[in-house]
């Protein structure tokens, strides 16, 4: 059971099963305001699966995910309203322009959003009116990430966010995450590459589930 009184995200004795295959079991950890948790492990270790469980998309086979001490399954809508999930897919409509893509997403997530600032933060200012089908791989990725900047939410779940990003864009993302942490935000990041996020914790998946100190 998630412990009462704890602030932030708690993962309690979680088991994940896909099909008949048990991906991981008995996983526990917690993420507090300002924390960043890396998920690491070889391909197929269950990083993406864990992120989807944390987002509430998959029900865990056993165990629970908690927020501020309460099981998120109690009020799934409240949980989904407090998090961002950026996965492998780019969530873009090729016929809409970059600005339209971001503003329609933001409008679905939140009443108000500052789309242009968010675009500029990811260096997409001069591409705002280009249809998304013309964007390069890294530009698409940046556009998908831009909703983190457009709509403030406390919990970010990022699945290999640096994929296809050039060095400058990775830095932009790191800056954004740093600001997010400074305002009490949390992030769980599955990644195979190194990012520059001081003080991040690491959860190694595959058999030896343990939290390594930063």
């Amino acid at each position: 059971m998630p412990n009462a009184g704890i602030i932030g995200l708690t993962v309690d004795n979680l088991t994940c099963r896909r099909g008949e295959h048990e991906v991981f079991a008995g996983l526990s950890c917690s993420v507090h305001p300002g924390d960043v948790l890396y998920l690491r492990g070889p391909n197929g270790a269950g990083k993406s699966s864990l992120l989807r469980i944390l987002a509430g998309f998959i029900a865990p086979a056993a165990g629970a995910v908690g927020w501020d001490g309460e099981d998120v399954a109690v009020d799934p809508l409240a949980h989904r309203s407090r998090l961002h999930y950026v996965g492998h897919l780019d969530t873009l409509k090729p016929v809409l322009t970059a600005a339209e893509n971001l503003s329609t997403q933001a409008a679905m997530l939140e009443e108000q959003a500052d789309v242009d600032t968010a675009l500029r933060r990811f260096g997409l200012g001069n591409l705002r009116d280009l249809p998304a089908r013309f964007l390069s791989a890294g530009q698409r990725r940046r556009l998908a990430l831009a909703r983190l900047a457009a709509v403030p939410r406390p919990l970010w779940l990022l699945d290999e966010p640096t994929v296809a990003l050039d060095a400058g864009s990775v830095e932009r993302l790191e800056t954004l995450i740093a600001e997010h942490r400074a305002t009490g935000g949390m992030a769980v990041i599955a990644t195979h590459t190194d990012m520059n996020l001081p003080g991040a914790y690491t959860l190694e998946l595959e058999g030896r589930q343990r939290v390594a100190a930063p």
Binding site: R17, E20, E22, A61, A62
Partner: protein, 243 residues
């Protein structure tokens, strides 16, 4: 929640079904023997229909079973969906082919009966006939939906949604004879004011219905046991592979 794995353990179901099965099978044989004898030999030929009336003893129970199997399938689906009980899912899944078989049987016997009675095998304008064909398609859609999902737990939930939504068609089929003018005769047994059929025909009909019912129970139990066994083997294999 992780239902399909619970089959690794022996369940109450296995013991219970093992006890019921012999009785159900025996009952099926006895009732079919008695019912078929009464239907084909013991009951009088109809004044108007002569011996073709004997198709009734197959057609009517098959049609009733087709409808009630669908309802049962929907009930199982609802139970599986709400309580996530895998046995309910498996039961619902295995109702479908049996129910589709009953539907096909009723369709074929109805068509065979229609040829001498109405002068046509099939009549499109007839709401009862067409809506019954639709029931057959509903069964097919349900079976197809199970097929396209790789993950049985997902398949069970998707199919349950379809079964519950399709439930709406059942009253349409049953009341179609009242709502539209049809060739097909209206309800003559299960109706307000009691049956209008001669008791000499009613009894064989009821015995045949009971025979169909017993057959259904037997086949359903056999199918469920087979599938449970299959899952148990799969679970064991998985455990060995991961060890």
């Amino acid at each position: 929640m992780s239902g399909w794995h619970r089959f690794a353990n022996p369940t109450r179901f296995s013991r219970l079904s093992a006890r019921i099965l012999p009785w159900a099978l025996a009952l099926t044989i006895v009732l079919f023997a008695a019912g078929l004898y009464l239907a084909l030999v013991g009951s009088p030929p109809d004044a108007r229909q002569k011996d073709t009336v004997r198709i009734m003893y197959i057609h009517v129970p098959a049609a009733w079973m087709a409808l009630s199997t669908y309802v049962l399938m929907a009930i199982f689906s609802g139970m599986g969906f709400i309580w996530k009980h895998p046995l309910a899912d498996i039961a619902a899944k295995n109702c479908a082919p049996v129910g589709a078989g009953f539907t096909l049987l009723a369709l074929i016997t109805g068509a065979l009966w229609g040829a001498p009675m109405w002068g046509t095998w099939w009549e499109w304008g007839d709401a009862r006939l067409t809506s019954f064909l639709i029931l057959f398609f509903l069964y097919l859609g349900y079976i197809a939906l199970w097929q396209v999902f790789e993950d049985p737990e997902k398949a069970a939930r998707a199919a349950a949604i379809l079964a519950l939504v399709g439930l709406i068609n059942i009253p349409v089929i049953h009341f179609s004879v009242q709502w539209w003018n049809t060739l097909h005769q209206p309800a003559s047994v299960f109706r307000r004011g009691g049956p209008t059929i001669d008791p000499a025909m009613l009894w064989p009909l009821f015995i045949m219905l009971a025979a169909f019912e017993a057959y259904f129970v037997s086949v359903l139990l056999l199918r469920i046991r087979a599938e449970v066994a299959e899952w148990r083997v799969r679970a064991l294999q998985m455990m060995q592979a991961e060890a």
